[in-house]
């Protein structure tokens, strides 16, 4: 029964996307909305049924479906094959359920946009591509989903194509992710040559039993890591995510918070056996994770645009997940991924609703005191914020962050014989990050909702269609985390056992003060935020912008400008240089291929690149001209030629 449901799971959103985009002109807005939502809804129901069947089956049960052989040649074979195990079960649940909620919300949000058909066409295509990515059991099949997701994010970021800035942001996002995809492709090529097939099971088996040399393992892991970093907008590739906010808010919620950016984490979690063998790469992931975490938090602290704050916060939360992956606790990363999907989607959707009702005003300093105008939205935002900050016991965020922190504390990287990196410094920075997260999110809450009324007034009510998803997401954000308790509290490890029944994740000797520290940090952040921005006369209405460090941080630590100067400008110069095809001129300069007649060429165009062609054609033209001169119509001159020819002939014959 599973064999039919699994392909059906992917087919539904694909079919919905086909229907919506083909019937672009003819269907009304709500009809399109319903088609899209039903498509994703069916796949949500299917994924729930599949999860139930999977959980009722044997603990390590895996549902394998091979649709058809894709490429079978000597030395390499790849098929379109899907598999469902516990890891992908969690992912499809997140994708379909959060996706459904966001689609319902978007049906309301985008109702009066003329391009709604194209919007939902791309959104459902995105869900289909994400499901392919998550369910693929062949890495090449995963790559289809991987690039499909990148394409849909490009189409959706550049949705309002009338403004060139949006399309430029979309292209930037695609180029950055494309660089990562290319690195991932190299990784796949390396694995394919080593193991002859790209089935995940085969690859992991080959790697574990040493078919690949250690250097090869490290290199493959590095390639895959770079691919994941680009997709999840981590340190070297993070400039595209803040610009990606140019897209409609449901897109940001679905793609740039819940699903696409987490694809990298899912991939590394899926290949954790491979990464476990490459300790230097694990250390690198951890370090990059912590750096991104810290950088994201600091930048979010100084942002003035509501959606950009959420974008930077996503980057820093992803930093947490990468840190967890680096420290080997991939279950914690997946758990945090799930909870993060819930509360970040909630935050984005609420922000969307706020922006819609205040006439597309995104600057938090011009939004003030909205608590009275929209109590429901304020409450939802507050719930999301607290879950993001990880307020103890009450929110899901606390449990997943706690799980990561405990995982990080116990890790020891044996990089080289004498140099081992222990988890304590990383834990310290992570804790600081938690504090900063609480600080910036509550800064946003106090400024937007609690301060005195600013200019913009809120109009109308959030439609019912948009408030239901917010409600569900609030519930999930609050009690989504109970299924996984740290040991000090009642030992409830439902999630980790669900994920990986084999290795129980229990740290019996976990010090009690570890959990307390994890709980106190967000509270401290809340307190400091209340002191700075919560009280009637805020101490610093807005952090004084003149400090150079603040201005630098506001622009994402100048990385954008740096990339622009290092990569984009030289590339543009290079392309200008070749505007008139240097090689073409060099080639045509070999003379007779250009107009051989020399008359027209001498007054030909000047300019450095054309000197070559002039010289070549002038050579041929000159020869032809010289010969023309000989032919000057005088008989005696011809007779002289004949005599000359005679003497030369005689000389050659008699003398040689």
């Amino acid at each position: 029964m599973g064999e039919i449901l699994l392909p059906l799971l992917i087919l539904c959103p694909l079919a919905a996307s086909m229907i919506v985009s083909v019937s672009a002109g003819r269907m009304g807005a709500c009809a399109i909305g319903t088609v899209a939502c039903t498509g994703v809804g069916i796949s949500a129901v299917i994924s729930i049924i599949l999860s139930i069947t999977l959980l009722s089956g044997p603990p390590a049960g895996v549902l394998q479906v091979t649709l058809w052989p894709w490429m079978h040649i000597a030395g390499f074979s790849a098929d379109i094959a899907f598999m469902l195990d516990r890891v992908s079960m969690v992912m499809i649940l997140v994708v379909t359920i959060v996706g459904l909620l966001i689609h319902v919300y978007a049906a309301g949000y985008m109702r009066d946009d003329p391009g709604i058909a194209r919007f939902f066409g791309c959104m459902t295509l995105f869900v289909a591509a994400m499901l392919v990515l998550v369910l693929a059991s062949d890495l090449l099949c995963l790559f289809i989903g991987w690039e499909g997701v990148g394409l849909c994010s490009y189409l959706l970021i550049g949705f309002w194509y009338n403004d060139p800035a949006n399309t430029a942001a979309a292209r930037k996002a695609f180029y950055m992710t494309r660089m990562g995809d290319v690195a991932l492709l190299c990784g796949l090529l390396l694995l394919a040559t080593a193991t002859g097939s790209l089935r995940i099971g085969a690859v992991l088996a080959a790697v574990t039993n040493g078919q690949l040399a250690p250097s090869g393992v490290n290199l493959a892991a590095l390639f895959i890591l770079v691919g994941a970093l680009a997709k999840s907008a981590q340190i070297p590739f993070q400039t595209w995510l803040p610009d990606a906010m140019a897209g409609p808010t449901p897109t940001s919620a679905l793609i740039h918070a819940a699903t696409m950016v987490t694809a990298g984490i899912y991939l590394i979690a899926r290949l954790h056996d491979l990464f476990a063998m490459a300790t230097p790469i694990m250390a690198l992931t951890a370090i990059l994770g912590t750096l991104t975490l810290l950088m994201g938090a600091c930048t979010a602290l100084v942002q003035s645009d509501l959606k950009r704050i959420l974008a930077w916060s996503t980057i820093s939360q992803l930093g947490y997940m990468f840190l967890a992956l680096g420290c080997g606790v991939w279950q914690a990363a997946l758990f945090h991924l799930m909870t993060h999907a819930f509360f970040k989607a909630l935050l984005f959707l609420t922000a969307g609703a706020v922006i819609m009702r205040t006439g597309h005003e995104q600057d938090i300093f011009r939004l003030g005191g909205l608590r009275h105008a929209m109590p429901g939205l304020s409450a939802a935002f507050a719930v999301g914020a607290s879950a993001l900050a990880g307020l103890p016991l009450v929110t899901a965020g606390f449990y997943s962050k706690e799980m990561i922190l405990s995982g990080v504390w116990h890790v020891h990287f044996g990089l080289t014989r004498e140099w081992t990196l222990s988890g304590h410094p990383l834990w310290g920075i992570a804790l600081l990050g938690a504090f900063l997260t609480a600080l910036y999110i509550f800064r946003c809450v106090f400024i937007v909702f609690c301060g005195k009324k600013q200019g913009t007034s809120a109009t109308g009510r959030t439609s019912r269609l948009m408030s239901i998803p917010l409600g569900c997401l609030c519930f999930l954000s609050l009690c989504g985390g109970v299924i996984e308790m740290p040991d000090t509290l009642p030992p409830l490890h439902l999630f980790s056992t669900l994920l990986d029944p084999k290795t129980p994740l229990s740290h019996a000797d976990e010090p009690i003060w570890l959990v307390l520290a994890g709980a106190l940090a967000p509270l401290a952040g809340l307190g400091v935020a209340w002191v700075l921005w919560g009280r009637a006369t805020p101490v610093m209405h807005e952090i004084p912008g003149q400090a150079a460090i603040i201005r630098l941080a506001r622009t994402g630590w100048g990385m954008d400008a740096l990339y622009d100067r290092v990569f984009v400008q030289p590339f543009r110069l290079l392309t200008w240089l070749t505007h008139h095809d240097v090689l073409a001129h060099a080639i045509t300069a070999t003379g007779r291929l250009t107009q051989a007649v020399s008359g027209r060429i001498f007054q030909a165009r000047t300019g450095f690149l054309d000197i070559l062609s002039i010289w070549g054609s002038r050579g041929t033209g000159w020869m032809a001209y010289l010969l023309g001169q000989l032919d000057n119509g005088r008989v005696r001159w011809y007779a002289a030629w004949i005599a000359g020819g005679l003497c030369a002939g005689l000389a050659m014959a008699v003398l040689s």
């Binding site: 007649v597 032809a624 007779a639 020819g645 002939g649 040689s656």
Partner: protein, 484 residues
């Protein structure tokens, strides 16, 4: 010495009698049409008897004439070309009723007689006589130009002076050869004991120079451009085709198709390289179509000489195919040029006048393009197979330099041939009224026949050419004569 039984190939007889009849008719009453008719009839008759000869061919090879498949093949080509040229010139001479031009067809017949004499000659005497008859008749024909009459006379004067000089050189060479060998047999003199070694070599070189002048190989090519431009179109065709075929066939007869002596090899290679390069480079800069065709015929002589220089199994095929291709294509181009001429309109010698022909007279333009493609060596025409064969002989002999020159030459050749087609395809500059299509049936018929020959020859070269292959094997006795 010469007194033994007379052996004279029948075509020569037929044509000389034809000329006699034309002269007699001219005395009685002048009429251009009738003399053309006589000319065509005699040519047809000679074509019929081209292979036949009265009496027995003497075995010991000192007879004046010789007849074998090679002579038959070249004679057929010559007679066929002259018939086409007569067809061509019928229109632009006849309509001019004013001046008495009976001599025009007569001179053509005399020219053919000279050419055939050279082809059939096995002795210096008939060769020299034939050469002079051809030369003198060409001088006469060149002066028949209409509008800028001065061009004709100037061209004739130049041709006279230069061909006189070259015949003197040729005669001097023959004299030396006669001095060395004591016999006028038509073959390179062999150095016997008592004569200084340099003499026969000098004799051969001087004879070669005489022939090269007529073939317009490079150091001696200057005259061809001016004379062809000055002459009327049919005479230019006669010059480019008939005189070249006649001289080339006597060149093959004279040197035989075996391996050439070393000194000759070097001279020939140098001449070939010069001919191809200069021929093509000159053509690049020509604005007049006849001058361009002159340069192209110079270049084609160069390609032909490559085939001549590389003896072997493929050589005979290459030479016969190339001669046929060259004749057919050049005749075709000249026929199209005459068809292009309109009584009061442009005379077609300047390339610019051909602008936009595809849109005005599509049939003529397609015919011209097919001919030019064949000259350039591009598939639909027979020229493609000809160039292929020549390259084959070149490769068989690993003549790397000659092959490179062949390739470079044909690439340059591509340019100026395609240039004409490009001009024809350009939008017509002056929206001239569609030229009055007064039909000139015989010209259109001629153009159609020639196009068919070129295209069918290109598609089925085997059927058209190869049965004549054995013709190229030089008659055994002259070959033995050399080897005695």
């Amino acid at each position: 010495m010469i007194g033994h039984d007379i052996f004279l190939p029948t075509p020569l007889l037929v044509i000389s009698s034809g000329i006699m009849i034309m002269l007699a008719a001219m005395v009685w009453r002048r009429s251009v049409g009738r003399s053309f008719a006589y000319g065509l009839v005699t040519l047809l008759l000679s074509l019929a008897v081209v292979g036949h000869h009265p009496g027995r061919m003497s075995g010991n090879g000192d007879s004046l004439f010789i007849q074998d498949r090679w002579t038959t093949y070249t004679a057929i080509l010559i007679i066929f070309s002259t018939m086409c040229i007569l067809f061509m010139s019928w229109r632009d001479v006849a309509h001019d009723g004013t001046t008495l031009v009976d001599e025009y067809p007569l001179l053509f017949m005399l020219g053919t007689l000279g050419a055939l004499a050279m082809v059939f000659s096995a002795n210096y005497m008939p060769f020299f006589l034939g050469l002079e008859i051809l030369g003198i008749s060409i001088m006469g024909l060149v002066t028949f130009r209409h509008r800028p009459v001065m061009l004709g006379y100037e061209a004739a004067m130049k041709y006279l002076v230069l061909s006189g000089a070259s015949s003197a050189i040729l005669l001097f060479g023959i004299g030396l050869a006669y001095g060395v060998t004591g016999s006028l047999r038509f073959m390179p003199p062999i150095a016997t004991g008592e004569v200084p070694a340099a003499l026969p070599v000098a004799a051969t070189v001087m004879v070669l120079v005489g022939m090269f002048f007529k073939l317009s190989a490079v150091p001696f090519h200057m005259w061809l451009l001016d004379v062809m431009e000055g002459a009327p179109i049919p005479v230019a065709a006669f010059l480019a085709i008939v005189s070249k075929i006649a001289i080339f066939s006597s060149l093959v007869r004279y040197f035989g198709t075996g391996a050439q002596p070393p000194f000759l090899n070097d001279i020939l290679s140098v001449v070939i390289i010069l001919t191809i390069m200069v021929g093509n480079l000159l053509a690049l800069r020509q604005a007049s179509l006849t001058r361009l065709l002159a340069c192209s015929s110079i270049a084609h002589v160069g390609y032909l000489l490559i085939a001549f220089l590389c003896p072997g199994h493929l050589q005979s095929g290459a030479i016969t195919v190339y001669l046929a291709a060259y004749t057919a294509s050049t005749l075709g181009v000249f026929a199209t040029m005459t068809a292009f001429v309109v009584p009061d309109g442009p005379d077609g010698t300047v390339i610019a006048q051909w602008r936009g022909l595809f849109f005005r007279r599509p049939f003529l333009a397609t015919a011209m393009s097919l001919m030019l493609f064949s000259l350039a060596g591009i598939p639909p025409g027979i020229g493609f197979f000809a160039k292929f064969e020549v390259a084959a002989t070149g490769v068989e002999h690993q003549r790397d330099i000659l092959l490179c020159v062949l390739v470079i030459g044909s690439i340059i050749g591509l340019y100026y041939y395609l240039n004409i087609i490009r001009v024809m395809m350009a939008a017509p500059s002056s929206p001239s009224s569609t030229l009055n299509r007064h039909a000139r049936p015989e010209l259109t018929a001629l153009v159609i026949v020639l196009t068919i020959i070129v295209v069918i020859g290109g598609l089925f070269p085997a059927r058209a050419i190869h049965p004549l292959l054995p013709a190229a094997t030089v008659p055994p006795e002259t070959r033995d004569g050399i080897r005695h």
